[in-house]
């Protein structure tokens, strides 16, 4: 099946150039990404069909639709959250985003693990395949740890909760904020000017603009405006530097 996607067999891959390799890589990523998401949808129906229609416990469509509408009311914006999808693809690349979509917990686990991985390694050109593979490795590790934990949890059951004292459960809530702060610093140390811009934009968004802009667009807009401002500043600085060098040469 894999040969249909990528006609080049493994043996010739070593001879592939960077360009062809990245083309082939992205092609396979989208192919398998979409297949696995479709399978995810299909597998989601198994339990419902078996218990609803084969075992005959079907509760009727009314409660199901009522519940779904209630879920839709609370979570519906997530179903159409294109801004987050764009931000995620920008931050972690397609392979990691396909995995993140299937396994969920994007903002609390997949994004931090992808960015943590990216910050730990020299990723070559930004937005290039190396960066995306590194991010996907971070997400793979995170998925295995997370799902592994869940399997242990379900097997060991309620016995385990008694082992965790109340105070430790309280601490767990604050792990994520510390993680976000730490990862921010990790990137800030690479370029503190960009960090200042991002902080200023975030503060503006959370204070002055907070009531004007819908909350689901805020993070996306912070990302986009940080990018625009920083790119503009970087280009301006480069131009100035070049001008100064040219001036120096002329003298």
């Amino acid at each position: 099946m894999e040969n249909n996607v990528n006609p080049a067999p493994e043996a010739t891959n070593a001879a592939l150039g960077y360009e062809e390799a990245s083309k082939a890589y992205y092609k396979s990523v989208h192919f398998w990404g979409q297949i696995t998401l479709l399978l995810g949808m299909a597998f989601s129906t198994i339990a419902a069909i078996y218990f609803g229609f084969i075992k005959g416990y079907f509760p009727g469509w009314t409660p199901i639709l009522t519940a779904f509408m209630a879920i839709f009311g609370v979570m519906g914006h997530v179903f159409f959250d294109l801004p987050s999808l764009i931000t995620d693809v920008l931050l972690m690349g397609p392979a990691a985003k396909y995995m993140a979509s299937l396994t969920g917990n994007v903002s609390n686990m997949r994004l931090p693990s992808a960015l943590g991985a990216k910050a730990a390694v020299d990723c070559g050109p930004a937005g290039g395949p190396k960066e995306h593979v590194i991010a996907s490795i971070g997400v793979i590790a995170s998925t295995i740890v997370n799902t592994g934990f869940l399997v242990i949890m379900v097997i060991a059951g309620t016995y385990l909760i008694r082992l965790l004292p109340e105070s430790i459960q309280g601490i767990l809530t604050y792990i994520l904020p510390a993680l976000f702060g730490a990862i921010f610093v990790q990137f800030a140390l690479m370029n503190w000017k960009c960090a200042v811009t991002a902080l200023v934009v975030s503060v503006l968004m959370l204070t002055v603009l907070s009531s004007v802009i819908p909350s689901s667009y805020q993070a996306f807009l912070v990302v986009v405006s940080s990018i625009l401002i920083n790119v503009f500043l970087a280009l301006a600085a480069e131009k100035k530097k070049k001008a100064a060098e040219d001036g120096g040469e002329q003298k």
Partner: protein
């Protein structure tokens, strides 16, 4: 009736119905792992790169994974092990799964863990939770491909300075906003309803990360650089105990 329902919820059949979804998560991870490794040489990814990105991925997941663990234990007692495992393994998050189960039980005229929580109500939970999950997959299924192609094309055309700044700014914008948002309890405000515990964990996580990273760089301590993230998270989280 509750007892009968929970028997169904933890039955072998239920396990078999839920297993494919959980297995799919591992299979997908394996597929993308193989894809990445296949082009390792072309993309100049060393084995040191692989192990440090893997370590970073694990370290940043441990904490949140543990807290899902705690929510999950609550769900197991109300909808059984297999459904909890399969729903928490895919799509969404533990909060979403908790209240969609509750909504479904209510729509069926009962509540989670109530004495009249019937097999029908349980089946309503299965339907509602999975329908929501399917709905969340529609957007990624359609849009990851075009969005990613557009960004890749832009990446190939742009100059390297712009791209480096772009990548860093995207990460800083996203994490800066989320970190500051914690100050007010993630209600999209700042300076109102300040939450001291959250502020302490964000700020201490950030400053200890800065200290460890700078120290590691100056003294050239390799292990400290790799463990800096883990230490920073622990310091930030544990310090909240001392905040009233």
């Amino acid at each position: 009736m509750l007892e009968e329902t929970m028997k169904i919820a933890n039955s072998l059949e239920m396990w078999l119905c839920c297993a494919p979804l959980v297995l799919l998560v591992f299979v997908q991870a394996w597929i993308f792992w193989r894809l990445g490794m296949k082009y390792k040489t072309e993309f100049r990814i060393s084995s040191a790169d692989v192990s440090s990105s893997m370590r970073a991925g694990i370290i940043s997941t441990l904490g949140p994974a543990l807290s899902i663990f705690v929510v999950g234990l609550g769900l197991i007692t109300s909808i059984g092990g297999p459904l909890t495992l399969s729903r928490l393994s895919v799509v969404g998050n533990s909060m979403y799964e908790s209240f969609s189960a509750q909504f479904a039980a209510q729509a069926a005229g009962t509540a989670l863990g109530a004495p009249d929580f019937s097999p029908q109500a349980f089946t309503a939970c299965i339907f509602a939770m999975n329908l929501g999950g399917i709905a969340m997959l529609v957007l990624p299924l359609i849009f990851i491909r075009p969005v990613s192609m557009a960004t890749t094309k832009a990446a190939q055309r742009g100059n390297s300075l712009v791209l480096r700044v772009l990548g860093i700014s995207a990460a800083l914008g996203s994490f800066g906003y989320t970190s500051l948002n914690y100050f007010g309890g993630s209600k999209n405000t700042l300076f109102t309803e300040l939450q001291p515990k959250y502020i302490v964990s964000v700020l201490l996580g950030a400053t200890s990360m800065a200290c460890f990273t700078i120290l590691a760089k100056k003294k050239n301590i390799k292990w400290l650089r790799e463990w800096a993230l883990a230490f920073a998270i622990l310091i930030g989280a544990i310090a909240t105990v001392f905040v009233g």
